[in-house]
Structure formats: C-alpha cells, structure tokens
C-alpha cells in the first residue's frame, strides 16, 4: 500500500469519522440525560437528506406532513396532560413550543418547495423542519414511559425507528437520492492527492461543532444543567431542573446534529429512506467506546471507527461491517473491567 493510498484512506476515514462523531455526540447526550438509546436519530439524518433532495428537485417533501402531524398530536398530548395535572396556565407555552414553532418551517417549506431559491435557504429550512423531530418523537412515544427501565425504552426506540423508516418509505418512496454538494471543487494535497471540498467541509463542521459542544457544556448554565441531569437525576430535580425540559433540550440538540449529518453526507452517499439505521448503528459503536457517557472518548472512538471503516473498505470490503461491529466486543469487555462506581452516582430515582 503506497503512502498516497494511506493518505486517501485516512482522509476518507476522517471525514466518515466526522459524521460518526456528530451522530455519536447526539447518542451520548440523549442517553446520558434520558437513558434512551436514540436509534431513530439515524432516521432523522436520512429524513434531512431526503427532505433537502426533495427541495432541490422542486417537490414538496413528505416530511413536512409528517412533522406537521406530529406537532399537532404532540401539542394535543401535552395540552391534555397539562389540563389533567391542573397546570392549564402553561397551555399557551405548550401550544407555542409543540405546535407553533414546528409548524413555522412546515409553512416555509411549502412556500419555497417549488420556487427557485438560494441553496442556503433550502438547507436552513430543511434544518428547521427536521430540528423538532426528536422532541416530537420524545413527547409522543418516549416521555410517557420516561420512568420505565432502560430495556423498555430501548425496545420503544427500536419500534420508533421502524415506524419512522416505514413512514419514510411511504412519503419519500424507495428511490435513493444524492443532493448537490454544498461545496464544489477539490483541494490538492502534497503528493498529488486530491480531496473533495465536501469532505473537508465535513471535517471542519465536526471540529467546529465539537468546540461548540465543549463550550456549551463547559460554560453555559443550560449545558451544565443537562450534565447535572445526566450525573444525578434526583439531584437535578431538587435544583428545579425539570427532567422533561432537559430531555427536550437533549433531543433538540441530537436532532440538530442528526440533521447536519444528513445534509453533510447526502452529497457523497446515496441516501434511502432506511439509510439512517446503519449510520446510527455505526455511530453507536463510537458512543459505546465512550461508555455512552464521555464526549471526548466518543469523539476519539467515532474517528477511529471512521478510519477503520475506510481501511476495511479497501483491504476487505466484504468484511467491512463485520470488522466495525466486532470492535464492540473487546470494548465492552474492557469497559466491564474498567467500571468505576461512585457512591453518589448510585442514587436511584425515588419515584
């Protein structure tokens, strides 16, 4: 294997790893705050790609109707809960959050779908449309079970994945799509190696978002409140941090990351209605390396998986998936030996 090939594989692996990194951070965030292994995040990524592709082909993406229906249902569910709990004074807030905010990009999407608008506007509306999906999925399916065991939440998350993917088949059809590159052109590296600008963009976005993530969780009180909920749920509640709001923030961020993943990957990979599952599954390997808890180790793990995939594709293409998922076994064995328990972390939810 020549140095050129190594370099090409490395860059390919880094850009793939950048995608897994973004998806992996979302996995860790949602799991640490809610104990949900959010399998549907991959589907959200696929929906973002398919939505953008629909806008680019001047058609109305089916995701608009899905998000609108979910928003109406989630708003109804929240209003019924509030009235039952005697918190009717919060109804305007619930209507604004669960119905008005998600419906704005739906309307904007309908308005621009068949128009000739700048690419950046299409991307922005796609982002805004996909952003509430995680929160709406949570409100409709996972929140009512929030105090259930991790296993039940996992089973529900898998069921939601199949549901969303099934809806994806209905609203987008079985055809694969590729979107236009966000950045055209190539960059030439020493030694004659050429790198598509889109791959460089993927790496830069992942780096920048990692930095934003670091600053958000390290500096902002909202980020710290999310970490506190992950660290000790009862303790967080006793500080007035509402778990359902922490969960909503986690799902919002995870959906945002998934939408960025979908938009970044669609110009370089053909996306189908069910492509998100495999992306999510591979990203989860990075998150497992990070123990579903550590953001830095997840980032390193995700990049490692990206490079491993790239190398495996070249050396033993047929065994690529086997090699990647085999990593989980030694990692879990290592993790099981490295488990460190602290007294304060053992406090269970009392109710």
């Amino acid at each position: 294997m020549s140095l050129d090939i190594v370099l090409i594989l490395l860059i390919d692996g880094l850009s793939t790893g950048a995608i897994y990194l973004l998806a992996g951070l979302g996995f860790v965030l949602v799991f640490s705050v809610t104990r949900v292994i959010f399998i549907p995040s991959g589907d959200i990524a696929a929906f973002a790609a398919l939505t953008l592709a629909a806008f680019q082909s001047r058609t109305v993406p089916g995701s608009i109707w899905l998000v609108a229906a979910m928003a109406v249902l989630a708003c109804l569910a929240e209003c019924v809960t509030l009235v039952r709990n005697g918190s009717a004074r919060r109804l305007p807030h619930a209507i604004f959050f669960y119905a008005v905010l998600p419906l704005i990009p739906c309307i904007a999407g309908l308005a621009i779908a068949k128009q000739d608008v700048p690419e950046i506007l299409r991307i922005a509306i796609t982002m805004a449309l996909i952003l509430p999906m995680g929160v709406l999925i949570d409100r409709l399916t996972l929140r009512p079970l929030a105090t259930s065991s991790t296993l039940i939440l996992f089973i529900v998350a898998i069921a939601v994945h199949f549901l969303i993917a099934g809806i994806g088949l209905i609203v987008f059809g079985p055809e694969g799509v590729r979107t236009n590159p966000i950045l055209d052109g190539v960059a030439s590296l020493p030694g004659g190696v050429v790198v598509p600008a889109q791959q460089i963009l993927m790496m830069i976005v992942a780096l920048l978002l990692s930095l934003v993530f670091y600053l958000f969780f390290g500096r902002s009180i909202t980020g710290k409140a999310l970490r506190a909920t992950a660290s000790n749920r009862v303790g967080a509640r006793l500080m007035g941090i509402r778990p359902e709001r922490a969960a909503a923030a986690a799902y919002l961020i995870a959906s945002g990351l998934a939408a960025i993943v979908g938009i970044l990957i669609a110009p370089v990979t053909t996306m189908y209605y069910d492509s998100g599952f495999m992306i999510g599954l591979k990203a989860s390997v990075g998150a497992i390396i990070g123990g579903m808890a550590s953001y830095p180790i997840t980032a390193i793990g995700s990049v490692f998986i990206g490079i491993l995939e790239s190398g495996a594709s070249f050396v033993a293409s047929d065994y690529k998936e086997i090699i990647i998922f085999s990593v989980v076994i030694p990692v879990l064995i290592w993790r099981s030996f490295a488990v460190h328990r602290d007294g304060d972390e053992e406090i269970e939810e009392l109710a």
């Binding site: 009180i221 009862v234 303790g235 967080a236 006793l238 007035g240 007294g343 304060d344 972390e345 109710a351």
Partner: protein, 241 residues
C-alpha cells in the same frame, strides 16, 4: 394551621401495599427548626421525600397556604422549598463551583442574585471556597454535606428539608454541621430536620416529633422532649430513672 409555613395533615405514603407513613400530621412555623426523630426504618426519610414531591402520597399538605398535591418537585423549588436528601445527590463529576451555581438554577437569569448567594455560601462554608475547582466526588464526607447544604442555600430557600445531615460524619463534624443549621435558622430559613441522632437534633430544634413505624408517637417543644423519659429511654441512651 393557616399560619404555618408547612402543614401536613393525615399524610400517608405507601410503597405498593406497604404503608411506610401512616396518617402523619405536622406543622412547621416560619423561622423554626422542627425535627423528626426516630429509629432507622421509622419512615422519616419517606416522609421527607414525599413532602418534597419525590414520592406519591395522600392526605392534605400546604406550603405557604398553597396546596402541595399538584406541585412538582421543581414547582416547590421555585417557591423556596428545598430538600437536601440523605444521599446528598451531588453532581459528583462536576466541580464544587458548578454544583453551587446549579443550586441557583431557578434564579439563573438574575446574575446579581447568583453572585450574592455564592458569596454568602462561601462566607458560611469557607472550605467550599477553597475547594471550588475540585470535583464533588473527591470531597470528604463533611465537605460533601456542606456542599449539599450550600447548594440548597444558593436559591435562598424559605424552607429547607434536611435528611440525616449527620449521617456518616464524625461527631465533631456533626456538631459543626448542626451549628451551621442553627445559624441558618437565625438568618430566617425555616428547617425541617430529620435525624437519627436524636440528641444532636433536639439540641438545635425548637419543636420535635418522634416517629415510630410510620406514625408520630410523641410531639412537643424540643427542650421538653430532650427531658421526656420515654424519649430518653428509647433514643437518648436509656437514661430512664
């Protein structure tokens, strides 16, 4: 009853079919330390957790004249009703300073308030100021207790529920912690103190309830209770004459 800061009337708490608290009635006046003493397993922690909204309960309960039955834990915190649980429930993987700042989460938008609260907590617990960059999980038992109380004080509560603050602490540190609890009362914070260490609790409290197998079996002024033969016999080392 209406003048009380906190009043519980006929409160029951059950774990499935097992009733851990059976028809308890309690009144806590503003600016007082009220203690609930009793043996391990008497139902004290269950009562406190239910009062804080962490466990489902039945009966009647009011805080500052407002019905508690429809208030969540977080609603209570917003109204100045804070629990320091037996397990401390600290954010172990976060620094002391972040733990404290999160204590003022409900007032997070008022920067001046947070700053003032932080200064007051550091003045009250200078050790926390020295340890502010240290992870909470690396603190000693006494320091953790101080952090748990300091964190609850950050939102400047009106009512503080303290569950076994002496648990796992050396006797000298217990005295120090309880001295500070009395100091909080003097600053106007009302306190509901649950303690197994009856002598220490009666030393600082104004009013006391004795709990046994889920019920209050005795109540009265703390000084009277400290001299009550039945209390002495059961909880203060059996000095019955």
């Amino acid at each position: 009853m209406s003048a009380a800061l906190l009043s519980l009337e006929g409160v029951h708490v059950a774990y499935g079919k097992v009733e851990a608290v059976r028809g308890v009635t309690l009144k806590l006046d503003e600016g007082q330390i009220t203690t609930v003493i009793g043996a391990n397993g008497a139902g004290k922690t269950t009562l406190l957790s239910a009062a804080a909204g962490l466990l489902p309960w039945s009966g009647r309960a009011q805080y500052r004249g407002q019905d508690l039955s429809r208030m969540t834990v977080e609603d209570r915190v917003e109204r100045g009703f804070c629990l320091v649980p037996e397990q401390r429930a600290l954010f172990g993987d976060m620094p002391v300073l972040d733990n404290l700042l999160l204590g003022a989460f409900v007032r997070r938008h008022d920067k001046a308030f947070v700053r003032k609260s932080l200064d007051a907590v550091f003045e009250q617990f200078p050790r926390l100021a020295e340890r502010q960059t240290q992870l909470a999980q690396t603190l000693s038992g006494g320091e953790r207790q101080m952090l748990a109380i300091g964190r609850a004080l950050m939102s400047q509560p009106r009512l503080l529920l303290l569950d076994e603050p002496s648990l796992g602490l050396a006797p000298t540190i217990v005295r120090d912690v309880l001295k500070r609890v009395r100091g909080l009362r003097d600053q106007g914070v009302s306190i509901l103190l649950v303690e197994q260490n009856a002598r220490a609790a009666l030393d600082v409290a104004d009013y006391a309830y004795v709990m046994d197998t889920g019920e209050f079996v005795l109540e009265g002024a703390a000084t009277d209770m400290a001299n009550d033969e039945r209390v002495m016999a059961t909880y203060l080392g059996g000095r019955i004459e």
